[in-house]
């Protein structure tokens, strides 16, 4: 892990391990403890299963190995694809002269608004025979690309184009110049985005079940659903935890020492010319595959339905309201819990910091049903009075989606020059006051991005919501679920449309954050 690349040109102490203030470490550890609840639950259940014979017997079944291999293959393929496609479209969005760049970056964010199960469902309308690895790979990649595109586009906006020019002048080809000059500057953002993609691909169940590609999440759902074998489900989920931890640890070492400091510089704009077609493909692939095709598919199903029931408007509005309220609350809590972890990880390195940060990412690598059940277990054991209350539900969202905020906020905080912090301290401000008045202020956009990413995910979440919601509360996702289970496509369509529209709002806001800054237009 070398931290001696150009990013350390500011006077931050790159890899000190002892400097972390104890209060920050303690606070971050408390927040990470929340994310560790599912792990504690899984270990309790796995111990129930008996460590000795049955664990080996369960895990060594040929089918389990196959499921694990399928999960790994899919996660690797989707992550790689998103990394390449997301970086390419971010580069086009920021470095190529295209008409209406603001609109394009907005379009690039739209796949975030489509839940993976809706994307799969919409595609099946057109191509019913679609199934297996390639179908899952294509659609998961399409809906996950924005996790890479948006942060990389933001980093490219900040990245200096001068180095690229220097590299070209020194005889590098365009690609070589990109690799040697631009890539190091956007690498942390790209890899942080790729981490979210990878964890999502590991934990997704809705899409792979519709696309009939059996992964570990199938095994987990079948263990709960067909055999009511919670212990076996827990063992399979622990395999998933191990994979997720390997990914998170891997990301930390690939990311390298410190996040890059964004350096403002006027990026060169390359005229597109004969590259028009490839540019269009790069920009449109994900929005067409992940949004346009499935949404049209859903619309056609709507027209096919024999009985177009009248829409129950108050009920629809109630679901919209509940969805928005929960999304805001979930985003706030997730951001609050993620903040100390991000602040710690942005400035300090030690084994303890690594453990805390990795723990914070755990929830995102697990399917919603596992996180939901773990919070049922936890709430009943610790705060039975709050069971089936909004508080536990929102807490569940925070556990699930906190990683989406950790990554972006860490980059944002690391981007605040250490010299400013030192000046503030020299002027007599306490560490906390410095943190609040300098670091938090400057990192605010990244905190906003993190919160929006969480809000979008909360809106689309289904399995944990079904388990944890207060009886009688319905979100757009649960309403959609209850209608598609009985074939009421006519009745389901308004909820599907409302869900995509509502989730598109934060996606659109997100695309505006540090994306295309006004002076460039």
């Amino acid at each position: 892990m070398t931290s001696s690349h150009r990013g350390t040109r500011d006077r931050r102490k790159g890899s000190r391990s002892s400097g972390a203030p104890p209060w920050l470490v303690a606070l971050a550890a408390v927040c990470a403890a929340a994310a560790a609840i599912p792990l504690v639950y899984l270990i309790v259940r796995a111990l129930d299963a008996g460590i000795a014979g049955s664990v080996v017997a369960t895990l060594w079944r040929p089918r389990v190995l196959e499921l694990a291999l399928n999960s790994i293959t899919l996660a690797v393929a989707v992550t790689g694809t998103c990394l390449v496609a997301g970086t390419a479209s971010a580069w086009v969005l920021t470095r190529v002269r295209i008409p209406a760049p603001g609109i394009w970056i907005l379009i690039a964010a739209l796949p975030l608004a489509v839940p993976s199960y809706l994307a799969a469902y919409g595609w099946l309308v057109w191509v019913p025979s679609m199934n297996g690895f390639w179908a899952s790979w294509l659609l998961l990649s399409a809906v996950c690309v924005p996790y890479v595109t948006l942060p990389v586009a933001a980093a490219l906006r900040g990245a200096s184009g001068n180095l690229h020019d220097v590299a070209r002048t020194l005889g590098r080809g365009p690609f070589g110049a990109f690799v040697s000059a631009t890539w190091p500057q956007i690498r942390p953002a790209a890899i942080a985005g790729a981490l979210l993609v990878c964890l999502y691909a590991l934990s997704d169940f809705g899409l792979v079940s519709l696309m009939r590609y059996p992964t570990l999440t199938w095994g987990i759902n079948a263990a709960y659903g067909a055999s009511f074998n919670r212990n076996q489900a827990a063992l399979l989920a622990l395999v998933l935890v191990a994979l997720a931890l390997a990914v998170v640890t891997g990301e930390r070492s690939i990311r390298g020492g410190q996040d890059q400091v964004a350096v403002r510089g006027a990026p060169p704009v390359i005229p597109s010319g004969r590259w028009k077609l490839p540019v269009a493909v790069v920009l449109m692939a994900a929005p067409v595959l992940g949004v346009l095709v499935p949404v049209l598919g859903l619309l056609s199903r709507l027209l096919e339905a024999e009985t177009l029931r009248s829409i129950d408007v108050p009920r629809l509005l109630g679901a919209v309201g509940a969805t928005l309220g929960l999304a805001v609350a979930g985003a706030l809590l997730a951001t609050l819990l993620a903040l100390p972890i991000a602040a710690l990880a942005a400035r300090h390195k030690s084994r303890l910091v690594s453990v805390i940060e990795a723990t914070g990412f755990l929830g995102h690598g697990l399917p919603g049903i596992v996180v939901g059940l773990s919070l049922v277990f936890f709430a009943l054991a610790v705060v039975p009075a709050l069971y089936q209350s909004v508080i536990v539900l929102v807490f569940g969202y925070a556990v699930l989606f906190m990683p989406k905020a950790i990554g972006t906020m860490r980059s944002g905080i690391a981007g605040v020059p250490g010299s400013l912090v030192e000046v503030s301290r020299m002027l007599g401000l306490s560490p906390l006051a410095t943190w609040w008045r300098v670091t938090a202020r400057l990192a605010l956009p990244s905190i906003g991005v993190g919160a929006l990413l969480v809000a979008i995910s909360v809106m689309k979440e289904l399995p944990a919501t079904l388990l944890l919601r207060p009886t009688g509360i319905s979100t757009l996702a649960t309403e959609l679920w209850s209608r598609t289970t009985v074939f009421e496509f006519g009745a389901a369509a308004p909820y599907a449309a409302a869900l995509v529209l509502v989730a598109a709002v934060p996606a659109v806001v997100l695309s505006g954050f540090r994306g295309v800054s006004k002076e460039d237009l």
């Binding site: 470490v25 303690a26 550890a29 408390v30 990470a32 403890a33 929340a34 079944r61 040929p62 089918r63 196959e66 099946l124 019913p128 025979s129 199934n131 079940s209 519709l210 009939r212 199938w218 759902n221 079948a222 709960y224 659903g225 067909a226 055999s227 009511f228 919670r230 489900a233 096919e304 339905a305 024999e306 009985t307 303890l352 453990v355 049903i369 059940l373 049922v376 009943l380 610790v382 705060v383 039975p384 009075a385 709050l386 069971y387 089936q388 508080i391 399995p463 079904l466 388990l467 009886t471 009688g472 209850s482 209608r483 289970t485 009985v486 074939f487 009421e488 496509f489 006519g490 009745a491």
Partner: protein
Amino acid sequence: MRTTSLLTALAAGATVLALAGCSAPGAPAANGASSGSDKAFTLYSGRDEELVQPLIDMFEDETGIEVDVRYGNTPELGALLLEEGEQTPADVFLSQDAGALGALSNADLFAPLPEETNAAVPAGFTSADGTWVGVTGRARVIVYDGQELTAAQVPDSVDAFTSPEWAGRFGIAPSNASFQAFVTAYRVLKGVEAADAWVKAVAANSPQIFENNLAILAAVNDGVIDAGLVNHYYWFAQADETGAENLRAQLAYPKPGDPGAIVNVTGAGILHGAADDADALEFVNFLVSPTAQQYFVEETFEYPLVEGIEAPQGLPPLDSLKNPDLNLSDLESLEATQELLSRYGLI
């Protein structure tokens, strides 16, 4: 590393304290105390809101008892009830299949039902030990592509799907409870060796694997596969939504006595905490009353289980599907089936 573990312990302690501090008074009433009638109870429904809520409205109007309903998938609510254990807020569980009821019964979560409740449903369609009562029946059927096949070309036995003629053309949902119940029935009716041979042959015959019955029906209806093994009522629900004449998929019933022709049931049980809750019991009795049974026939196209109510039109009589050698409690023994399916890589 000593500081590490100290901090971890501190952090854990702080979390617990912080959360414990939140647990203000006003805890929901525990169910243990509820005896007699307070004109309200909580229902966990593994059956869909669109289908069940009108029936519950009828019950509320008739009795003045308020029903607090929590909707979810049967498997997930089953897992939830197991996790909640005695702390569950639920008084009654309405389940989409017997497997979930059996699992909860085995975990000793249900209070025994009164004799007269159990007696409403003939033996063979309800629990053997009186912990839950059957409400409606679902037949296992073969769904086929009506554009590719004539009714005469459809097998009358599930054994046909082991032949090379069907290789790669049929769909099953081996991780789904309804398929596992069917394989269990096969094992009970024809013996372990025959079941082993069938699963082995089917697994080797390139079956198309789906996650649930609905997906199989959709695939047949779209012409992706020629046939599949499902429950009968999905087809009727689809026909109700899009019109029967618009469906490519058609149903065929395996011949009586074939293991593919079993009936699985939906049912309801009362949780221990509500053992003395008169409201909960009244609701369970309502489910097996003529009013509710008639409702299920008309709205969900399922078999009524109470004598004297006519089955939906177009279905073979329930008696012809009743298998004298099969007891529903046999279907609760899923473990051997799962081991069998996993041996040949189907789950």
